[in-house]
């Protein structure tokens, strides 16, 4: 169990002016499932690799369990890492893969056996111990990688997009397994992903990153409902939050597609009204999406399949958003403005 903290952490790669990670301060809580979420190139993996000791930071400090580990090699940090490729040792059996961290720590043979059996039991891979990695499916490889990470009982798990090599169906069940596993071992986990579904579904807290900075840190619901800026608003949520200019104040008004409904359905008071010109409808089974424009801005409205749609593509209708769901952003900085009434 340990808290991971980074202070003013910066990474500049040679030859590039911009920092991959630019002075980040963040601290996990003990036993927390912390997700680093962002588009590719935002610095999330670099941040994780620096915490793991695989990448030396340009500036700043890393603390694990209150101890500064910035200059320690990975093997001195009591961490375990699961890679996107799983990075199993191809020439070793599953059992030897799991035993590797124990052998490296000079654990006696008998104790090793015990720990291997324990880790294999937790992940349900007892029957695979004699196989080579190439004889395993993607999901099995992922579990072996987790067992190898678990077996040493590290202070921290670092997971780098461990689900991205699984097919879509397997990914949903792997999300569930991974979260249950983390709850059971209650070890601080830092999880890197670009997939907001994984982030929303698994994280205790999410740090949304962009261009080497953390844009917002908070529980999934807060990230979704109260985005700190237009980047978070449009990166999290699918389809993203709609942004419409408010000519009166020079701000941007943000609202989620599911809150953008025909005006008649809501009271005239307590809602902001927009003329919505609909271009086309997309049928997605459980829901339908209406694509169109409000003024110049592209806007999407989302309807559950149970709600009738009162407007045809090509027509314009009056739509409204309840005021409590209307977020106001500074048009220049993109930052959220404190709530105030909308005229």
């Amino acid at each position: 169990m340990a808290v991971v903290e980074v202070r003013g952490l910066t990474k500049r790669f040679d030859g590039t002016g911009a920092a991959a990670v630019d002075g980040i301060d963040i601290a996990s809580r003990d036993g927390e499932f912390l997700v680093l979420l962002g588009p590719s190139g935002c610095g999330k993996t670099t941040l994780l690799r620096m915490i793991g000791g695989l990448e030396p930071p340009t500036a700043g400090d890393i603390l694990i369990g209150g101890r500064v580990v910035t200059d320690l090699p990975p093997r001195a940090r009591q961490i375990a890492m699961v890679f996107q490729s799983y990075a199993l040792y191809p020439h070793m059996s599953v059992k030897d893969n799991i035993a590797f961290p124990l052998k490296a720590a000079n654990m006696p043979k008998a104790a090793q056996q015990e720990r291997i059996a324990w880790a294999a039991g937790i992940l349900g891979i007892d029957h695979l111990l004699g196989r080579k990695p190439r004889q395993l499916s993607g999901g099995q490889r992922q579990r072996v990688a987790l067992a190898r990470a678990l077996v040493r009982e590290p202070n921290v798990f670092l997971l780098d997009e461990p689900l991205s090599n699984l097919d879509a169906q397997r990914r949903a069940s792997a999300r569930d397994e991974l979260q249950q596993f983390q709850r059971r071992v209650a070890t601080t986990t830092i999880y890197v992903t670009h997939d907001q579904v994984e982030a929303m579904g698994m994280g205790d807290r999410i740090a949304v990153m962009e261009q080497g900075h953390i844009r917002q840190l908070g529980p999934p619901q807060e990230i979704y409902d109260e985005p700190a800026d237009t980047f978070v608003a449009t990166f999290v949520g699918s389809p993203p939050m709609n942004l419409v200019p408010d000519p009166a104040a020079g701000d941007l008004l943000g609202f989620r597609p599911e809150h953008f409904q025909p005006a008649a359905a809501d009271g005239v008071n307590g809602a902001a009204r927009f003329p919505f010109h609909v271009h086309r409808m997309e049928y997605l089974g459980a829901e339908r999406l209406l694509y169109g424009e409000v003024g110049e801005a592209k806007v999407i409205a989302r309807f559950p399949v149970t709600v009738p749609i009162p407007v045809e593509p090509g027509a314009t209708a009056e739509f409204a958003v309840p005021l409590r769901h209307l977020k106001r952003f500074d048009a220049k900085t993109g930052l959220r403005r404190p709530a105030r009434s909308v005229s």
Binding site: L54, P74, R75, M81, S85, A87, K103, R148, R152
Partner: protein
């Protein structure tokens, strides 16, 4: 073709126009040069060698009179042949063991990042790009019995000349590298190592870079230090590619006669003779083609074995 063009055009073209589009025609056609090459330059000489080895053919009398296995018997009965056979195996095995060790070290060093790495890589590769004959000549001059620069350096260091700490043999003005049997053998070995090391290094370097960064990172995080990573991860993962490097080295060294021919001419007193050079001296210079062919055929079983192992390795990499 536009929609208005009548389809008749297509029908009128002769089918032979598309002959080369058929795999059954194009394939054999493309293979033909290789087949001709192998039959003419490998197959025919091999058959000829077998025929010669079973006959009493000489440069002077080219009629093929069958003599059974007499040539082989005569070869084995000859002390120089037995020396050449022993040398061929010793030179090959010892040089390849040395190459394996040195190539691993070199490849590890060259896979690291340091200033001037490209220049060092270039220099390491040089001996391999140099024609064997030129390289061997260079060594011949370097080890000259009178003007050897190595002797010059040793003299300056006080290791050569009267009062040398290395023993009585080193008390002369020159080491006479090519005049003492053991030094001459060491010389041949060294030239073979010098010559095959670059290729082995490049092959191993490619193997090292092929180990995924994630795997190295994982080993780092899992707590393995440099030597454990070397022994548990890198060397086992490199084994198949090491086998490739060694097999190439074996073929080059086992069949080579240039080094011996130029540097020592098999001497002194046949102490550095190898099968290839002995076959040449007996068969071509001595004029006894049947004898030469029989000696050369002793290379055959080992080369067949090496070829089989190479094919097996290739098949294994295909199936992974």
């Amino acid at each position: 073709m536009t929609a208005g063009t009548p389809a008749v055009d297509l029908v009128e073209q002769r089918p032979s126009r598309y002959l080369l589009d058929r795999a059954g025609v194009l394939g054999p056609l493309l293979l033909l040069p290789t087949v001709v090459y192998i039959v003419a330059l490998v197959g025919v000489p091999l058959v000829l060698a077998i025929l010669y080895s079973l006959s009493d053919v000489t440069v002077g009398d080219q009629s093929l009179d069958f003599v059974g296995l007499r040539n082989f018997g005569d070869a084995i009965g000859n002390a120089t042949f037995r020396q050449a056979l022993r040398n061929t195996f010793v030179f090959t095995l010892v040089s390849q063991v040395a190459v394996l060790v040195l190539a691993n070290i070199l490849a590890l060093v060259l896979s690291a990042d340091f200033k001037g790495k490209r220049l060092v890589r270039f220099l390491v590769l040089l001996p391999w790009t140099t024609p064997i004959a030129l390289g061997a000549l260079g060594w011949l001059w370097t080890l000259d019995n009178v003007y050897s620069p190595i002797d010059f350096v040793l003299r300056r260091l006080g290791l050569l000349g009267i009062g040398s700490p290395l023993g009585q043999r080193w008390e002369g003005t020159n080491a006479l590298w090519l005049a003492w049997p053991d030094l001459a053998q060491l010389t041949v070995l060294t030239v073979h190592v010098w010559r095959t090391l670059p290729l082995a290094t490049v092959i191993l370097l490619a193997g090292l870079t092929a180990i995924p960064q994630d795997v190295k990172d994982a080993a780092n995080v899992d707590g393995a230090g440099f030597f454990r990573q070397l022994v548990w991860i890198r060397i086992p993962l490199l084994l198949p590619i090491m086998a490739v490097a060694v097999l190439y080295g074996i073929v080059f060294t086992f069949t080579d006669m240039t080094v011996v021919f130029i540097v020592t001419r098999g001497g002194p007193v046949d102490s550095t003779q190898v099968l290839a050079s002995w076959a040449y001296f007996r068969g071509i210079e001595g004029g006894s083609l049947g004898q030469g062919a029989a000696i050369a055929l002793f290379l055959f079983p080992v080369l067949v074995g090496v070829a089989a192992m190479m094919l097996r390795l290739a098949r294994r990499t295909e199936t992974v």
